[in-house]
Each structure stands twice: as C-alpha cells, then as structure tokens.
C-alpha cells in the first residue's frame, strides 16, 4: 500500500449540505483528499455519493458548506470555472459527446489549454496551427494512454461500452486536471476489465501525478486501488479510514445490508449492490 503524503490536502470539504426542496440529500459532509492519493467513496445507493460529487464540481450548487481546492475556495463558482481550477470528472452513466469522434471528444477536453483567439483561428495564424497540431498529438497520446488509440476516428456513440468509459477518462485527463473524479468507473465491467481499470487508475496517479477520487461499488477495485476510503450512508459520512480499517468496521457492513445498530427492526434493504453477507465479508476480508 502506498503511503499518503502528509502535505495539506488537495481537496477539502467542510460541512457540505445539499437540500432539494425539503429533501436533504447530504449534510455535514466532511471530506479531505490528500495530494497524490487515490481516495474512494463507497456506500449504499442513495447515500449521497454522487450528490457530493455534483456539489464539488458545481454541477448543482451546494446549499451550504465550504469546498477548497489547494487552499482556494471553489464553492459558489460556476462549473466551468471550477473545471479551470483543475477538477475533471466522469459520470455514472457515461456522458460523452455521442456524435463527435473519440479524437474530437478528447480535443474538447483540452478547451482550457488552448489559447488561440477567435481571429487567429479565422486567419489560421502560426500560433493557432501550432496549438492545434500539439492538441492533436496530446489527444492521440491520451487515447493511447487509456488504451484506445485505434478508436480515434470513431464516433463516440458507435464505440463499445468499455471503450466509452476509457474515452471519458481520457477526455477528463487531457485537460491536465489536478483532481480526477470518477463516478463508478467499474460499473458494468467484468473482473478482467476491472483489473485493467485498477492498472489505469494507478498509472493516472503515478505517471500523470493526478489525485483521484472515485465512487465505486466493486469492492475488489476499491480495495486494490484506494489508500483512503470514505463511507457514505443516508446523506452523511459514516466513517473514513484505510482499506484495512474499513474492512474491519462493523457499521460499514451493517450499512451495506440495511441494518443499523440501534434501529428497531430491519430497515428496507437497499436494492443495490445485492451483496449477501457472506460474499461481502469475503470481499472485504
């Protein structure tokens, strides 16, 4: 297991709350992601993991709370400004630009790295040409990095699902973010693909130096790749710790199975993940 650096956290969330009308989706969420770490967020469905993601990336405005990236406050900023601060993300259900090619998708991801003006583009200035050529090379390199170099000319919507997931990661990475947020990257993957994903995430951290936060249900992937795990349950942080600590935590298993200590009678079991007790223990142990 890699050591987590002791430098100040890259992403710091304090007292985050999001209410949709009267329904409180998350509250009192504290999260601290160390620079250079792979940090997993787990928890049953409906626990508020994706809502927390959406608040951090300004997809939805948080109701209250404080979010800082490398010491700078980013809550309350519009999404494109947050992106320019260096946060990139993927989505639970893949959201590519379906009618654009893989290469074009990755070129869009470089939007904030390109500086040639509108007039330079029309005139076809030297800087514009140079920048476009570099962007293409970077895009093709990034497709190569995620393992789909042969897809460059394909429309995103015609690509197989696994490649779409990789393309989404490439699009997020190519902008040179400091923090990459993956929302269930292993969803719908078989064990082999899951292992390839673990490898990819480790290369993202080690070779690109990008900090990764991921929401994931596949325990095998989480335990293999994360240095730190935060467990969400019912809109709040249940606990946080190293994989070993989380594996040993009774409350985590209870939360996953829908049983809560102190609650009278069993609460309705979450629909997903459907993990029988024995299997969950086998995974965690």
């Amino acid at each position: 297991m890699r050591e987590v650096s002791t430098s100040p956290p890259l992403l710091e969330v304090r007292g985050l709350k999001k209410a949709f009308g009267g329904m409180i989706a998350i509250q009192n969420v504290d999260l601290s992601v160390a620079q250079g770490a792979v940090h997993a967020i787990i928890g049953p469905n409906g626990a508020g993991k994706t809502t927390a993601f959406n608040c951090i990336t300004a997809f939805v405005p948080p109701t209250s709370g404080r979010i800082t990236l490398a010491g700078e406050r980013i809550d309350g900023l519009p999404a494109h400004v947050v992106a320019r601060h260096g946060i990139a993300r993927t989505y639970q259900n893949v959201r590519l630009f379906p009618n654009m090619t893989a290469l074009e998708n990755v070129l869009v991801g470089q939007h904030r790295r390109l500086h040639a003006t509108f007039w330079e583009a029309i005139a076809g200035s030297g800087r514009f040409r140079r920048e476009e050529a570099e962007a293409r090379v970077r895009a093709l390199d990034m497709l190569d990095f995620v393992g789909i170099p042969h897809r460059a000319g394909h429309l995103a919507r015609n690509m197989p699902y696994g490649d779409q997931r990789r393309l989404e990661i490439a699009r997020a990475l190519v902008g040179g973010p400091r923090l990459l947020m993956l929302d269930e990257p292993a969803a719908g993957m078989n064990p082999t693909e899951g292992r390839a994903l673990v490898d990819l995430i480790e290369r993202v951290r080690d070779r690109l130096g990008v900090t990764v936060v991921l929401i994931e249900h596949h325990m095998r992937v989480v335990m293999a790749v994360a240095q730190r795990i935060t467990v969400f349950d019912r809109g709040a942080v249940l606990t946080e710790g190293s994989p070993a600590e989380i594996q040993a935590d009774e409350r985590v298993i209870a939360a996953y199975l829908g049983r809560r200590s102190g609650a009278s009678g069993p609460a309705p079991a979450p629909l997903e993940p459907v993990v029988p007790a024995s299997r969950l223990e086998a995974r965690i142990a």
């Binding site: 989505y91 869009v108 939007h111 509108f118 583009a121 460059a152 000319g153």
Partner: protein
C-alpha cells in the same frame, strides 16, 4: 436538437400479411394517393406541363411514378419468388388504376363538384387519356396501364442492383431534363451549335419524343460505366468524387453565364439563402441554438444598407455599398449580442419561443409609428443603389449572383475555420451535452453568445446583399417564413454540415423557384418531401456526423 429523437420514435413495425393481400393494400394506398392527387387539382394544374413534348405531361409522369413505386415496393418486399413478385406488382398496379377509373366514372355520373371543385369534366377528360370521355375503353385502360406500370416497377425491383441503379438513373435523367427544360435549353442556346438543327433535344415546352429514349439510354449507360469503373481498383473513389466536386464548382461558377437571366436570378436567391443558412448553421447546426428569429438580423442588415446607399428621401447617407456592408455586418452582430444576452440563458424549446418573439419585434418595430418616419413603415425604402465594382455597376442578375456567391464563399471559409478550431468544438460539445461541456471548462453563456453574434453577423451580410439585389426593402420581406425556410434548409441538408447548406438551399429554394408551374402545389410537395425526409433520412441529405467518422483513422497511430 431533438429532430432525430423525434423521428426515430416513428419506427413502424409492419404486420405480416398474405403477399397478395399486401399487394392489394399497397395498390389501394397508391390508388388513394392518385385520387387525392387528382381531387386537390394538382393533376389538372400539372397536366399543362409537357415533360416529353406532346406525349407525356408532368401529371401523367407523377401518377406513373406513384404506380411504379407501388410495384417496386411490392417486388422489393422479397418474400416471394420473381414470378409471384411480378404478379403482385401487376395486382397492385391494377388496383391503383381501378381506383382512378372509379374516380373518373364517379365524376361523370355523379355531380361531385359541389364539394370537390376539382372533380370536373375537364379532369375526367384528362384522365380518359384521349379515349372518349368515361367510355368503357377509357375506364378499362386505367387499370391496365396501372398494371403495366407497376409490373414494370416490380421488374425493375427484381433486377440486380447494377441494373436497378441503371434504370433509375436513366429515368432520373429524363425527368430532370424534362422538368428543367428551361435551364438546359437556355444553356444549349448559349453553346455553339454542334448538333445542327435536325437533332433538337428540346421542344418548346419539354423534351422531344425522340430525345427522351436517347437520354434514358445515356443515363443508364453512364450508371453502368461508373459502376464498372469504380469497381475496378484503377479509379479510387475519392478521385472520382474529387472530379465530381470540381465539376460542381465549375458548374456553380459558370451557371449564370450559360443560362438565362431567370436562372441567374434563382441562383442568386439560392446563394442568398446559403449565406443565411451558414449563419444559422453556426447557431443551430453547431451550437444547437434553435433560433426562430433569425430573420431579425437579416432585416437589420438590409435596412442598414437601405439607409446608407439610397438616393431616396429617407436615406441617412448615400455611400458605396462596400462601405455599408461592413457597417451592416457589425450592426447585425451588435443586435445579435444585444438580443442574445437576455435570451441565451434559456434552453431548448424556450429559446425557440424567445427568439420567435424577438424576430417579430423587429418587424413590428419597423411598421410602428415610432420608427415609421425613419424607416418608411410599410412603404419601405426604395431606390437603393446597386453596388459597383471598379466603376462597373453590378446590375445584372449574373453579376449580383457573383456578389452573393463571393460573400457565401467568404462566410463558408470562416465557418469552416471556426468549426475546426477550439470554439467550433466547444459549440458542438454544447449542442451534444451542455452540462458536460461546462464541466470541461467551456463557458456556456459566452460561447453561445459568440455563436449567436456570428450567426447574426452572417445574416446581416445576407440582408445587405438582399437589399442591394432587390433595390428596395419592405417590412413584409422579413416574415417568420424566412426563418422557417432557413431552418428547413439546414434540416434537409444536414445540421452542422456546410455542404448540406448548399444542398438544402438548392433543394428547397432553387428547385421550387425553377418549378414555378407547380404553383401552390409546390408547397404540397415541399411538405411531403419534408415528412418523407424525416422518415427516411432524418440526419439530412449531407449529414455532418458521417462526414466526420473515420476521417482520421489512418492518422490514429501517428
């Protein structure tokens, strides 16, 4: 844009029927189409137009094509052997013909004219095809003719692809030559006469009967030859298509020189709509902004030129068109920016409604009492001077066509450059998924505003040319219909595709102008074509997405 999603939900699942019943059903559908065609008066109107001199009129060809298509469709169903398919074709055609015969009989024996104005004796006479009106012979020949035509359609449908393609190409050549007789005849008139007077392709209103089979054979032979050539490895497809586009460009350049003024005028109109189409293409095709008020910026451009280049009493200045043109473009862009600020924060359908309102506001403002004294109200502004170039006044339709074409070329170049730059990709991304685009660092309001402003600037340029072309501007030239037409051009051509704009403008603006004898029935076919288009090819005639895919795979490993 949601055009594709809407149309793709119309996938019809056909129930399996007995083949003969299916053939009868297709025949009935064709028959109903024929009867409707006759009863709306289209038959009588188009019967005056000879496609092949003294032999075939346009309405006969239209009916023939419907029956032919019915036969073709039954044969292509592909569930039965060739003999059975042929039989089914015959049945379908006979049924369709019988429907028409029934109509003729009813027209003569019952007075339908009280409700159906077109069901006149003239119609019965026309449909009797020279036989005594409503005689047994006249009534019997319709199902027989129908059966023959549909049988022919079925036979063509059964041919191997090469033969099928050759037949349809030949038929297409004859139709195009006959329909656009004026264009081709005037071209031939301008050419030196190689053939001598004894071989004349065209008569006074259509093709000569002798020339039609020759043209058919030529078209079919060309198709076969092309197929053979492209199959051989010697001629790569891209080379062939490059030759094709070179020919197209040459054709566009010399068109008004080799034809008459009317064709030049139509070409000018096509170029003008191309200009506007490319403006809206930036907004709708690239950035996905549904703008129904596009005509407003067109009006701003037109009125700017009108006020600056007129010798009339309302003129502010009387300067050269070349000075007024940039002013018009800048003013239209400013109008776009000003309008864009409040409306671009709304999305999708709401944006369409907001822009619709804005488009009307401009027209109503021009007509209002407040601006009437300055803009002439419904009287408009007249006596706009024609632009001049190197002391030469651009007055003839041909020279004005070149002006519009040159501007269209500039605009196409700018669009093309922007499309392949950061901002163009940002627009496409916004169209595809606005939230995701924003999460990648694209400022949605700024990039939408830019798209809206550039689109407005292009529309302003089109308006400026329009004012110079027509020589006068009136508020009624800036109706909602103009916006709708431009929108339809984009949808027909293919959203976001530059060649699509050209194709769409030719199909929707050029063809209806050249087919003036269709009169109001033009719009009927226009509508049918649009509906059919959305069913068969919702992505447009020259879609952008397909052009993009697999363009770069060979560079992928660079």
């Amino acid at each position: 844009m949601s055009f594709n999603t809407v149309t793709s939900s119309f996938k019809v699942t056909r129930r399996r029927r007995a083949p003969l019943a299916e053939a009868a059903r297709v025949g009935l559908i064709a028959g109903a189409a024929l009867v409707a065609f006759a009863l709306i008066g289209a038959y009588a109107a188009m019967d005056k137009r000879h496609v092949v001199e003294d032999l075939l009129t346009l309405s006969q060809i239209a009916c023939g094509l419907m029956v032919f298509a019915a036969g073709y469709a039954t044969a292509r169903d592909g569930r039965s052997g060739p003999a059975a398919a042929l039989l089914h074709g015959l049945v379908a055609g006979a049924v369709a013909g019988a429907c028409l015969a029934l109509l003729v009989w009813l027209t003569v024996s019952v007075n339908l004219r009280a409700t159906l104005v077109a069901a006149s004796p003239a119609l019965a006479r026309a449909l009797s095809l020279g036989a005594p009106v409503a005689s047994t012979q006249a009534l019997a020949q319709l199902p027989v003719l129908g059966a023959l035509l549909a049988g022919l359609g079925a036979a063509v449908g059964l041919l191997p692809p090469a033969g099928r393609h050759a037949m349809t190409t030949g038929l297409g050549v004859v139709l195009v030559a006959g329909l656009f007789r004026d264009v081709f005849a005037s071209m031939l008139d301008n050419l030196p006469d190689f053939t001598g007077p004894e071989i004349e392709l065209f008569g006074p209103s259509g093709l000569n009967p002798g020339a039609a089979p020759v043209l058919f054979a030529a078209g079919a032979a060309f198709s076969l030859l092309r197929r053979r050539l492209t199959r051989r490895a010697g001629v790569p497809r891209s080379g062939a298509s490059r030759l094709g586009s070179a020919l197209l460009v040459a054709g566009v350049l010399v068109l008004p020189l080799v034809t008459n003024d009317f064709v030049a005028q139509v070409a000018m109109l096509v170029a003008l709509y191309m200009l506007m189409g490319m403006g809206l293409n930036i907004e709708l095709g690239l950035a996905g902004l549904v703008d129904l008020g596009f005509v407003a910026f067109f009006a701003v451009g037109a009125y700017t030129v009108a006020l600056m280049c007129s010798s009339g009493p309302l003129a502010v200045a009387d300067v050269s068109f070349w000075l007024a043109l940039p002013v018009a473009i800048v003013l239209a862009a400013c109008a776009g920016l000003l309008f864009g600020l409040p409306v671009l924060r709304v999305r999708g359908d709401y944006l369409a409604m907001a822009t619709l309102g804005l488009g009307e506001i401009i027209r109503v403002l021009v007509l209002s009492d407040a601006l009437g004294p300055y803009l002439g109200g419904s009287q408009g502004i007249i006596e706009i001077r024609h632009p001049s170039l190197f002391g030469l006044e651009l007055k003839s339709p041909a020279s004005l066509y070149y002006l519009a074409l040159a501007l269209a070329a500039v605009v196409a170049f700018v669009s093309w450059r922007l499309q392949h730059a950061k901002i163009g990709r940002a627009w496409l991304a916004m169209r595809e998924d606005e939230d995701v685009a924003q999460a990648l660092g694209i400022d949605p309001v700024a990039s939408k505003l830019l798209a809206y402003t550039i689109g407005a600037a292009f529309a302003g340029a089109a308006g400026a040319v329009f004012a110079a072309l027509i020589g006068s501007v009136y508020p009624h030239s800036f109706q909602l219909l103009v916006s709708i037409n431009v929108l339809a051009i984009l949808v027909i051509g293919g959203l976001g595709s530059l060649p699509g704009v050209l194709v769409g403008a030719i199909v929707l603006i050029g063809l209806p102008e050249l087919l003036r004898e269709f009169g109001e029935f033009r719009y009927l076919f226009y509508g049918i074509a649009l509906v059919a288009m959305m069913h068969v090819r919702a992505e447009g005639l020259w879609p952008a997405a397909h052009a993009r895919e697999n363009v770069q795979p060979e560079n992928a490993h660079a």
